[in-house]
Structure formats: C-alpha cells, structure tokens
Symmetry: C2
C-alpha cells in the first residue's frame, strides 16, 4: 500500500512508500499518527498548515464483516484539538482496494477557485471544478454518478464546508447513492479551506486485497460474522429498529436529554421512537434496514420516506433524532427527517446542528418545539447568512453570539444524546476523550444501560472511571481496524468474536498479534492524540463538563458529581 | 474604607470590613486579588458565578496628580482569563471619597428585568430600571444628569453590554459628561449579564480623604506634578496632540499596522495624525486638550467637533484612530471620529471593534477603505442584528464566523496599534500578559520607539525580553495606585518622580514602603493573574502570536522571530 499525497499550494500530487513506523497502523491510529507527526498543533485549523488525512482501517477492503469504515483526521476547527471522524459509505473500501494506505491533503491554493481530486489505480489527480460549487451533496453525488457511473466512490462537502464552517462535515456516498457522514469536528470546513469540493474514487480496475493466509482469514471472518448475528443488539435490535431503538430505552432510563438538557425524559418519546419509525417506514414503503457499506451484516441504516412515499433521508440515526426531537421538544418524526435531510445535503454534522438548535432556542431565536422554525434556521446555514454563519459554527459559537450560558459542549463540541448525569460512564467519556464531547469515543451506554459487557450502575460513580477508560482504549483500537464500532457489542459478550478480529488481522498481514497488542494499539492512539492536544494548549481543565450539569436531572435527580481528581484518572494509564 | 458587596441573585447589598490581606492593595492589585480569591476560574464568564469588581487605586481620591483611574476586574468573556480594565472619568475618585475600597457585584437575577445601583455615603442600593434600557451611553448619562445633577458619577453599559457581547465595555462619565471607557475584555458584557444598566455614585456628602502625613504628601505631590510637566512626553507631546501624536511616530518607525497587519506604514497617515487632528480641533472650536479626571496635569484628552462645530467625540485615542484608520485603510478623521462616537455610545471597546472591522474587511463583507460601510457595520452591533452579534463578540469570533484565518488576536483579544514585528518589546507583552493582547500591560513602545527610559532596538531581539518583563511588573504596580499609566514616561526618566509616588503612598497610609515593595506588588499582581489563568486552562501555548506574524512586515521586512523558550522567559521571575 502507498501514501497518496496532495499539495494544494503547489497543486501537485505524489505517491510515496509507507514509512516503516506507519505500516502496522490503519484508520484512526494512522490518521492520528500522521496529524501528530506532520501538523503543528498551534496552527490555524483552516490555514495552509493543517492537513486532512483519509485512511481506511486495517481490515478495510477485505471480506471481514462490517469492516468498511473510513477514518478522517485533521486539527479540528471546532475543538482546536486533534480529530478523527469516522464514517461508513463506499469510499473506504475503494481506497483500500486501490492500495491507498492514507490520502494526505496539505497546503492551500491562492484564490477563490475550487478543485476536485480523482483517485484511481494511477494515483491521484487534481482538476478545477466550477459546475458543482455551491451545490448540495445530493446534487453533487447525482451529477458525479452521471459523469462517472453509479459505482464511483465520492467524498464531498456541501455549502457548509465550502463556507469553512466549523460544524461542516464530509459526506460519503453509500451503496445507493445516499449519504453517510464523517460528521463531527468540522472536517468539512478543513476540506473547504483546502478548496476541494469533492473527491472521486474509482476502483474499477483493481482486484481484491491480498491476504497472507486466505483460509485462516475466511475461518475467522465466519466466526466473527456469526457472533454479530448471534448477539441480540447487533443481530436483532439494530437491524430491526436502527440506532433509534435507543429513544425508548434512554427515555425509560431517564437519560434522554430533553429541552437542552433540562431533564432526562420526553413526553413525546414514543412518537419519535425506533418502533414508531420502523412502522412508519414500512407503511410508506421505505427501507427499514440497509447496510451503509458492502459486507455489513448489522444493517442499522434505513431509508425514510415522506407520506407520499418519496425519499427524505437515509442513515437516520438515534443521536440526530434525539437532538432535533427531545432536545428541541419536537415530537414530529417527519420534521426531524427533513432536518436530517437538510444537514446531509448542506453537509453539516447533524449532532452539532441539533445541539446548536437547542442553544438557539435557549437564546429565544425561536421557541422550543417550533419545528418549522427549526427547519428555517437550518436553511440559514445553507444560505450562509450571518445567522447561518453563527449556527453553522456550532453550539459554542451560537451560545457566545446570543449570550447564552447553558451551552452543552466539551472542548467546543456539542454533547450528544445521553445525559451525563444519568449515564455517568459516557459523561466521563465526554469529559476526557481528546475528541471533545463524543459518545462514540467510549460508548459506556453499552454497559450502563444496555447491560452489554456486564453492568455498571449509570447513576452511581463506582466502576465508571474504569468503564470509560477501558472502552476508550478498545474503541481507539477498533477505530483503527475499519470495523464498525457496533461490533463492540458482540466483542464484549462473545470472547471468540474478539479473538476473530485478531485472527483476521494476523491472517491478512501474516502477523501474530495478541490481545495485548490490540490494547497497546488503543493506548498508543490515545497517547498520540493527547500529546497533540497538550501541545495545542489543552490541559486537564478542558476535561470538564459545563458547570450547569451540577443541577439535578429528573427523573433520577442525580447530578454530575465526579471530582476533578476522579475525572483525571480516566485516561491515566 | 469598606468593601461594598451587591448580590444580584438575592438583590441584597452589604458593607463589609476590608480583610487584612486586602488592606494594602488597590486598583488592579485588589480587583485581581478579589477575582482570584472569589471566582471559580472555570465558571462561565456570563453566568452567576462570575463577579464584577470595581476598585479605585491606592492614591485615588487624593490630590496626587493623575491619580483618578479606576480598575474593573472579572473573568473576561472575551479571553476566558482574568481581566483588569482601567479607565479615567470621575467615578473612581468619587468611590474613593465615599470610602469604597472595592465594589463587588456577584450573582445574577432571574428574569429579563434590568436594575441600577446607587452608591452614596449610606452604602449601595438597588433599583429597578426600565426607562433607560436599550439606550446608548450618551442618553443614559444625559438623563442621569437630569435626574441626579451634573456632579453625579456614572458607570454605564450601552446596548452591547445589555446584549452580553464579549467586546462590550463599561463607560465612565468624565468631568464634562462625556465618556471614558474601561474598554478591553468585555466587562460590559459581564455587567449586562448581572442585569445592571448603570451605577450612580454620589459623593456630595463626603469630605476629602484623610492623610497620615498631609505635609509630606503635599511635598511629594509637588515633586511628582513637576516631573510630569517637565518630561517632554507628558509635559508637551501628550498635552498638545493627545495620544494620537503616535500616528506619525509609528508610521515613521514602520510599526503602524496597516490593512490588517499587512505592513507597518500607511500612505494616509498624515491625514489622520495628531498634528492634523490638533489643527482640525482648533479650527472647529473643539477642545485640543482636556483632562479625563480632576487633577490630571497631562490632559491628553480632547473634544473633537464636526465641520459645523458640533460635538462628535471626546477622548479620541491613537489606538482607535489607528484601528479604524490605518488598520482599515481609512484616512478620513471625521469617519473615524464617528466610529469612535458609535463605539462609546453603544458601549463597545473601540480597539476590539476596530480590529474586528479589519477582520470583517478581510472576510470581504465590505472592502478595505470603505468608511461609510464601516459605520454601517458598527450600527449593526448597536442594533444587535445577527451580523452585529458576530461583530460585537470581537475579532476572533468574527474570524471564525467568516472563515478568516488572518485574525490578529492573542488569547482571543484583538492586537492593538503597534506591529509586533517592528516594535518587538510590545509584541512580547501581547504574547505574555495575562490580559490577552494589550499594549498597556507593558508598553515597550516607550523604550523601543520613544526612547524613554533608555533605548532597546525595536527590530532586534536583544533586550526586549527584559524590557517587556520589567514594564509588565512596573505597570501592574502603577495600575494598583490609581495613577494614569502615562506617568511612567516621567518615572522612567526622572528618578525623583518614582520616589515621589512611594512618598505619597507612605504619607497617605503612614507606611514606609520602598522601591522593592513596589516591585514586589507588581510581581504579586502578575503571579495572582497568571495563577488564575492557569486554573482556567491557560498554558504557555496561549502565550503565542498568530502564525501569520511569521510573514515579513514592510518597510523593515522583519518577522516575529522569538522562540517559544524566549517568550516563556518574559514572565519567568
């Protein structure tokens, strides 16, 4: 495999050998290692000294189930720290099949013109782009299918990314031409700052990935796939209801943040739940289950249609539905679906956008519960109006602009869908992950609420420090394999599943890694990311939740009560 | 003297004895000590846990020349660190005469209603206020004169402060009913967050301040006053041309930042210079010289009229004229005077506003040089439109909203009127002072450019670390006395002047302080402030200038070339 490098200052490209130190890395481990090594932590995230790095995971491109995730890395314009944002879609597998270990984009062109990148078996080339500038992601993908055929891989930014907004994401074409997102941290703004509207990936002239021991690989993949199908979460809950199965579960647990984190349950929960959504999708002839990439056996994605049976959105996730729903006191799934569509089309992180809407409502721009008003606010972001420029830069910026103090962010990134006072393990993850408030960085919901991998009381302190730490280490490793994070449910309960992952990696690369090596990889990733953030000016003072979480959260009336010393233990390994 | 305390949560007030540890402190030393002791460094600056502290200096209220300055302290919503903002006007002397060692405002009322505070010989009282809400500072002061008489002292916020903008300042009535400002760091936003529109100070029922040794005091004051009149800067330059004498000097020195810090000289300098301004004021029957408080012998202020002889602005400072002028490529003094008037009236820091205009022009909202366009942008702040909410939160916020990377700020505060590449001593002050980019914190221009207190080459590195360090220590002490910082010109060249300050303090309080004690006071202030900032999450990584200062600055083509290690030496004492 090779490193593909694009210099947007000189508009030149190169293909380089992979240095020895990066050969054993993939996905998040590789993007974070490259960013840490090549980016000045104090540089402006939207300036020429930041770099944008795409990397498939170690197993991506193989037949390993659920191994098609893409890692995107850079210094984040939202947090000011290092960022890895992780997405499904078809791009990652295509990059892997083309032998792209990582695609590194550096520099910045002079002038206002935009460009596109094209990756194929000959390398990467740069072209000027005018026709698609100012267009939304759906139109971009549609036009690129028309230009290059249905199988083309696409990474693209919408208007938010073009406007270098710090909540802009990078969209990834899925197998149906719909959209998955490398959502968090404003990496779309970084892509926009480099004046790249989209990247096409054409793997039509490549074969399959070479494996050191195909038979051993096949065996391990089979064990792994079976575990995913056997586990109740990955085999039943997620396929049937998608991630939105969580609305009823979190509402029941009192951890569904409602009205900008005022309490943990929502009167309208049933109306926006996964169960309601499933029935709605079926009755409107949408797709209740769907995979975001080839080889996914969980198939938690879906296609949501409107009343007339027309497409509205795909990959309609719990966190988005929570944010625009319970968070904003909106119980109309059709409104929320339209909000998700707008976010995908203009290319803005739907979690950050939803937290931003809550803060905008807190600032009384529109009242809580005003669905049509919320859609209009989102359209301001697309237009790039001054209001849109406030909102498109996220919840922290919106709070500052409006003089709002109840702003649920950590390191400048909006806190997602699990109240830290009622799901304390994930609260510790929000506080301490180098990513800013990010549930995926150490998804303690799994053990706190779903009772997967044992049980740790979500309302108490005991065991949650260790839980968050262990999950953050494991997650950093999983994010490096290209496996979907949801495989963790199976890993935590089925020991053979974890061993199967190690066996697949060993069979692919001819290695003899052990479980300890995987843990070490996770620790290496976290150490690398934390060192970058420290050099960027972060201290343990940034590993804190906003002061308003000292308020009690109904219905359990628990508070955020970890001491600074306890929080600082989470990543002390 | 007493501590006056106002709790805006409970709407109660109290008068307390001064604790032993605070008795020897005044001005900045006292505001910083109180903020450091009573404010959680991690609190939200606009929330109920921040406190706003007013303190006259140690000599304020006496007949010591130029001793009427006021210190205002809080956690800054602009920088996120500790802030002392320093202003003239009549409030400080009135507070001192009333025996107010410090006025501490804490808490935050529920609801949207605003209040006023009234300080007199009986203590401090709280009243509801409706009539003056939404009004500009000139109208507020005019109405309060009508209500309470011409001699009433006033501290007030304009629309910017009401809207809790982080560039909002606190305005102080001057002896003519015009406006001086505690400008930097957004303390007007803090006052707005506490829902206080204005504070009146009525000292009509008090006498003069008691002195331990009146004769010795009188003698020292005489020596001190003579030194101020003898020194060419305080006796001639500042009285004749105001601080705007610096336009020609800095332009000549190649250190006048032009077009958002693109170069160090401005073709239109002569048209906006102090000399041109003086002649214009005289021909329009304004006041070419004027003191901002009783007892000022420097009288660097002035009243600037329009073509028809009508009042436009007073206290028209070099940094404001630089910022809206050379910084924005505007060479029309009348436009700049109108900009200053708008800033004073809506209550926004004219330096932050000017740097913000440069960033807005960089972001192509309006072109550089567009004077009428600039005035319209400022009016957006007053209106509180969405654009105004971006601009009113300062240069860093504006850069983020517009995706601009050339943003001249340190710790979130706009860099003022001296290019750090051509006046390197002040560049080190910008980088390292706990205040964020602030020329007054260690005004190395004095030795770099004016050759006062010796000479250190402004273009080289040698001697500038020590220069900035020594000036920052001395300034922290001067800011604690209530003396105008401009007395430093005389102190640096006339040894008797420095001794006279110590003699006055000793004669007032019956002490026997030495020069070493004064240096220790300065160091205490800086240590206290740096400890607060560290606890708020600041590290040495925040003591850095933006990366674009690595570019050469014409005409000297010097760059910002201090190493991190050299910068970190500045406050290493």
């Amino acid at each position: 495999m090779k490193i593909y490098r694009v210099n947007m200052t000189t508009l030149t490209t190169s293909v380089e050998e992979v240095p020895e130190k990066w050969r054993g890395l993939g996905g998040r481990a590789l993007t974070s290692a490259i960013v840490a090594e090549e980016v000045d932590p104090t540089c402006h995230p939207l300036g020429p000294n930041n770099k944008l790095v795409f990397a498939p995971g170690l197993l991506t491109g193989t037949t390993a189930p659920n191994s098609g995730r893409l890692s995107v890395g850079a210094k984040s314009p939202l947090t000011g720290g290092i960022k890895e944002s992780n997405a499904g879609g078809t791009a990652s597998q295509k990059l892997a099949k083309l032998g792209v270990k990582a695609l590194i984009i550096e520099g910045q062109p002079k002038g206002d013109g935009f460009y596109s990148l094209h990756v194929n078996e000959e390398g990467v080339s740069i072209a000027e782009e005018t026709e698609l500038i100012g267009k939304g992601n759906y139109e971009v993908i549609g036009k690129l299918i028309a230009r290059f055929g249905e199988k083309i891989g696409v990474l693209t930014i919408g208007q938010a990314g073009e406007n270098r907004m710090s909540a802009a994401n990078i969209s990834v074409k899925d197998p149906d031409g719909n959209i998955r997102s490398a959502g968090r941290g404003g990496l779309g703004g970084v892509m926009g700052s480099k004046k790249i509207k989209y990247i096409t990936i054409d793997d039509s002239k490549t074969g399959s990935i070479e494996l050191a021991d195909p038979e051993k690989f096949k065996q391990a993949a089979k064990v792994f796939g079976k575990a995913l199908l056997d586990h109740p979460v990955t085999g039943q809950g997620l396929p049937q209801y998608g991630t939105n199965v969580l609305v009823n579960i979190l509402n029941e647990a009192g951890g569904l943040p409602t009205q900008n984190f005022r309490r943990g349950n929502f009167a309208g929960a049933e109306k926006i739940s996964g169960e309601t959504m499933h029935d709605t999708i079926v009755s409107r002839k949408g797709k209740p289950t769907h995979g975001c990439h080839v080889g996914c056996v969980i198939r938690c994605s879906q296609v949501y249609n409107d009343k007339d049976g027309n497409y509205v959105t795909a990959g309609f996730e719990y966190e988005t539905i929570w944010g625009f729903g319970a968070g904003c006191l909106i119980d109309d799934l059709d409104i929320i679906a339209q909000a998700d569509h707008l976010c995908d089309d203009m290319g803005i992180d739907s979690i950050e956008a939803a937290v931003t809407m809550q803060v905008a409502m807190e600032g009384q721009i529109i009242p809580f519960g005003d669905g049509p008003g919320m859609l209009n606010l989102l359209k301001e972001i697309e237009k790039g109006s001054y209001l849109g420029r406030i909102l498109g830069n996220g919840a922290a910026m919106t709070g500052k602009a409006l003089g709002v103090t109840r702003v649920p962010t950590v390191k400048g990134q909006g806190i997602p869908a699990y109240d830290p006072r009622a799901v304390k393990g994930v609260g510790l993850t929000y506080a301490t992950t180098p990513m800013g408030a990010d549930h995926t960085a150490g998804y303690a919901v799994t053990t706190n609420i779903l009772k997967v991998g044992g049980y740790v009381d979500p309302l108490g302190k005991e065991g949650n420090v260790e839980l968050s730490r262990n999950l953050q280490i494991a997650t950093a490793a999983i994010d490096s394999t290209g496996l979907c994070l949801f495989v963790a449910f199976a890993i935590l309960d089925i020991p053979e599943a974890f061993q199967a992952i190690i066996d697949m990696i060993n069979a692919q690369y001819g290695l003899s890694l052990t479980a300890d090596d995987v843990t070490e990889l996770g620790k290496f990733v976290l150490r690398t990311e934390r060192a970058f953030n420290k050099a960027a000016g972060f201290t343990e003072k940034h590993d804190r939740l906003p002061e308003f979480f000292a308020e009690e959260c109904a219905p359990h009336n628990t508070t955020w009560d970890f001491t600074d010393e306890e929080i600082d233990e989470v990543l002390n390994f």
